[in-house]
Symmetry: none
Subunit: 194 residues, 4 copies
DNA sequence: AATGAATGAGAGTTCATTCAT
DNA sequence: GATGAATGAACTCTCATTCAT
């Protein structure tokens, strides 16, 4: 009864470990996360974690990898690239929020990327680069203003989205659509050709 | 020749401790900061830190307090409140960047506020609340749009500024004025009454 | 080949730890006992102590518990209660000395009971209360004088035994039987009905 | 206004230090006594303690010396030696209790003698040796039994007194005279020639 | 003589990591 | 592969002692 496959569904234990680790890293941060607690929550022994990850930092890297993956997946909807611009903001921001909803603790996790080994590939770049790509595309299509610095604008837009997310975390009762509408409105006024 | 006063310049040793602590907290985070290293860098004994702060968390609180103080000082220019709006964005953002420049590691430090005792007063709220107040003022004066949610807008604007700062950190050779201009431009298009 | 039971012989390591701790607490007192030394003497790592005891105070409590246990066991000989009185003194004192001989450092240890967590159950009361019970029994049976205060007499008798033990410690070459005989003689003259 | 004399009344500060130290040593033991607290209680600076005593252990020695002194003084009543024996027990025990009353924490302090430098001279021997001397005197005068071991008897008697004192500490409302009478009665029955 | 800020060795405790079972 | 008892380096914090003022 060998494992049917390796990666796709990963071993049940690996999944349990990653789930438990994600919760702990997101809730307590890197240092305050105890591998003994993660193991207990995952229903495995501490040693079992070490069979899969070289140490605590590698475990975090594993958690981040999976989170990035699911994030990238959610944004990988090719139909967005065909949407013209004011609406495209809506679609984009919507998918970001949706992904963030699925990976609840994403924001908290991303802040830990510096602890992960091979940090740098992880960064918050996944989202940032998507944003940059879309704005570049918009400029190319002459739907967006071209008298702006792409890098700066991407960082600003990204920060705007993060700020909005923080508001949603701080006030969970808010209707996400209102927030999404605010970002889309701001982006449109700010970046669309008149 | 007793010290003329207590606080103004604080004791030389207190300053040295806070400086060293700021560097370490900003560079390594809370847990990875070693009090023994802080002491060594400050040129004092570990015990000396404990004469002034009850523990590591209180030391961080001390660092944050001082940083907030210098930040609040920089933003406390009352002339800003008399500036009409498109220009006011410029002035505001300029003063934020100036303060951030003076307290180099501010961003890194603020992320640690949850470790500090009496956290809550610290938060990133100092800036956030200033922003909110100015936008509210602008709406009242009918210089800014009123069809927006103040809280959401403040968070978004705050995130925008943070994003821009990150870009400046990532690319220190950039001319701050260009970045400031970008934020002012975005804010104006986004928030000013047509 | 799993351990047949838990407690009976306890784990070899637990025994080693308790033995080493007993020596150190008895020889140096509570504060001057270094857990690092205890661990070294027990042939384990410091951390191993913490797997079994929550801290230094709990370790002491463990040592005292075991000592009390062996003490109570030794005095739990029900045949003593059926012995008439002058002889009963002999039997009683003999069993106290025997227990004290088995747990060499008992006296030194008992003095530390205030440091142990859950102190109170420990006290020197184990012996004290046994003495009180026997004297009460003797009075009831009209074998002992009843014109005395039970509490005071019990304390005095207890102190007498302790004093005799101290002499035995100070002069280990003494024949315990001589000392036991002295206490029995004193008790008889003091407490038996003429 | 030079100090009238050196030792007799000692300097006011020395007295304050010894008083404070006695309280702390008796209440908290040797290690848990903080010199900073002693200094604060005595109304002097820590450094001042070090002008008079070489360190913590020497300070304790100073406290014990003074206690012994006052104890010895109280027992130094030569008229006791002329009292014939059953009554002499009364007188002796009375003076011991009186001294103990004056130096409240004596018992607690004596237990610390091992920490004091030059320990050995201090011991609990002051009382013990007095007791031994009186019993020897009684035997010589043929007022007390001679078929007993002097050392053992002295220790037992001493222990008896200590036990009685403990009862008095445990139950402070007791009339000391009742306790003294109990000890005298026991001693008489135990040790006097019929 | 008196002060008390400064010192720094050394304590108890934690927890990532290992490895015999 | 899985386990979890054992390890011990390294942390924060304490406090007796010193010495410039």
């Amino acid at each position: 009864m060998a494992p049917a496959d390796e990666n796709p569904a990963q071993s049940k234990k690996t999944t349990a470990i990653l789930d438990a680790a994600k919760r702990h890293f997101a809730d307590h941060g890197f240092e305050a996360t105890r591998l003994s607690e993660v193991a207990k929550d995952a229903g495995v022994a501490v040693g079992t974690i070490y069979l899969r990850y070289e140490g605590k930092a590698e475990l975090l890297a594993g958690v981040l990898d999976r989170a990035q993956l699911s994030f990238a997946d959610a944004m990988d909807d090719q139909t967005i690239w065909d949407t013209p611009f004011p609406q495209r903001f809506h679609a984009l921001i919507g998918s970001i929020f949706q992904a963030a909803g699925a990976e609840k603790d994403l924001a908290a996790l991303m802040a830990l990327s510096s602890y992960a080994v091979n940090a740098g590939s992880h960064d918050r770049s996944a989202v940032l680069m998507q944003i940059e790509a879309h704005i570049r595309d918009g400029v190319t299509r002459k739907e967006l203003r071209k008298d702006v610095d792409l890098k700066i604008v991407a960082r600003m837009a990204h920060g705007m989205v993060e700020g909005a997310m923080r508001e949603m975390m701080a006030e969970p009762s808010r209707d996400p659509h209102v927030i999404i509408a605010h970002i889309a409105d701001a982006s449109t006024r700010w970046l669309c050709e008149d």
